[in-house]
Amino acid sequence: MSDNITFPKKPILTALERQYILLTQNGLPITEKPYHHIAEQMNISVEEVLSLTNEMLSRGVIRRIAAVPNHYKLGYQYNGMTVWDIDDEQAEKFGYAVGRLPFVSHCYLRPRHLPHWNYNLFAMVHGKTPQAIAKYRGQIKELLKEVLLSRNHDSSQQIITQSNDMLTSTEILKKTGLRLQQ
């Protein structure tokens, strides 16, 4: 099932960007002048730090400089990995549309592995109740109704696959953070 899959090329960082990541990957200091702190450690001016930050933001090296809440402490105890079997030709257009829904945190196109796995669009949703995530799934379904596929991959047995599903997580088995190493 794991054949013929290509990965993107590894992007390159400048020495300054590497240093910036090493200094901030565990977080930004919560002080009056957080960027000054980085400037001091990198031995460059704060103006240079600000322009380096903007440059990394525009290239997508930094996605956002933001607060990341603990889901559970805010009451978001339910998450659903919604998965969809949609027309490949329309996947890009509809993938971006699903990604724009306010309750979707991640949305990706992934490969199918027929007949075991017929879903190509993945969208994560988070909610405070099981009803909330079920409602979100319904809203995504409404958006995708024109492009959802129902396939009969084994006509002899009349097996019709579902066009969508929602996998909720019931247990964290392992969770680690990734760090760039010196």
């Binding site: 901030t24 796995w117 680690t176 990734l178």
Partner: protein, 196 residues
């Protein structure tokens, strides 16, 4: 805490939280156990008590901190507060771990690694054993039990792209199960926003 992969590696995997599978779970022998029961025994959560300013800060700062010399003065102006108050509340939210992180969020690809999301369909009676086998690979970054016949979903993170397929083969050999490999082909959106 820090679990170094080996001294030459560029990425390091830091274990933040590992919930070991309880050995006394009654679910093992029950075939049609409900999700509700699993949830109540497995994921523990304590909802934080938050002030109006805390909530406003959490909502505002999930969107991003301004890139300027005194970013918290701008945040304070927007929220009708003071820089001092904003910093104090933010530090408390971080210390009490209501915020698990505050700072730049890097695209993991730039940290020099390769990633994929993969799954296994594990027979319920073998779940704990297979969980240990899979988690024993240092390249497993996250692993979740999910409600599906593919009931174990994990992220494999390696330094080199080529290593992904060797880890998959090694998992298949160790568990005797076929791995479903679903790397991202296209990213449409990434950005968690949880309003309070």
């Amino acid at each position: 805490m820090g679990k170094l992969m080996d001294s030459n590696r560029k990425i390091q995997v830091t274990t933040q939280f590992v919930s070991a599978t309880p050995s006394n779970t009654p679910a093992k022998t029950q075939k049609n156990h409900s999700n509700k029961m699993i949830k109540s025994t497995r994921i523990c959560h304590e909802i934080a008590e938050l002030s109006i300013l805390d909530k406003a800060l959490i909502n505002r700062l999930q969107h991003g901190l301004p890139v300027c010399e005194r970013p918290f003065t701008q945040i304070a102006d927007e929220l009708n507060s003071t820089e001092k108050q904003v910093i104090q509340h933010l530090q408390e939210l971080k210390n009490s771990r209501v915020l698990s992180r505050f700072g730049p969020m890097f695209d993991a690809v730039y940290l020099g690694g390769a990633f994929t999301l993969a799954a296994l369909s594990v027979p319920e009676e073998d779940f704990d054993k297979v969980c240990q086998q899979v988690n024993s690979f240092e390249q497993i970054a996250h692993n979740y039990r999910r409600t599906h016949s593919f009931n174990m979903w994990f992220v494999i993170a390696t330094e080199e792209i080529e290593e992904i397929s060797s880890v998959i083969s090694a998992i298949e050999e160790k568990t005797g199960l076929k791995v479903l490999n679903t790397p991202k082909l296209k990213e449409f959106y990434v950005g968690v926003y949880l309003p309070v």
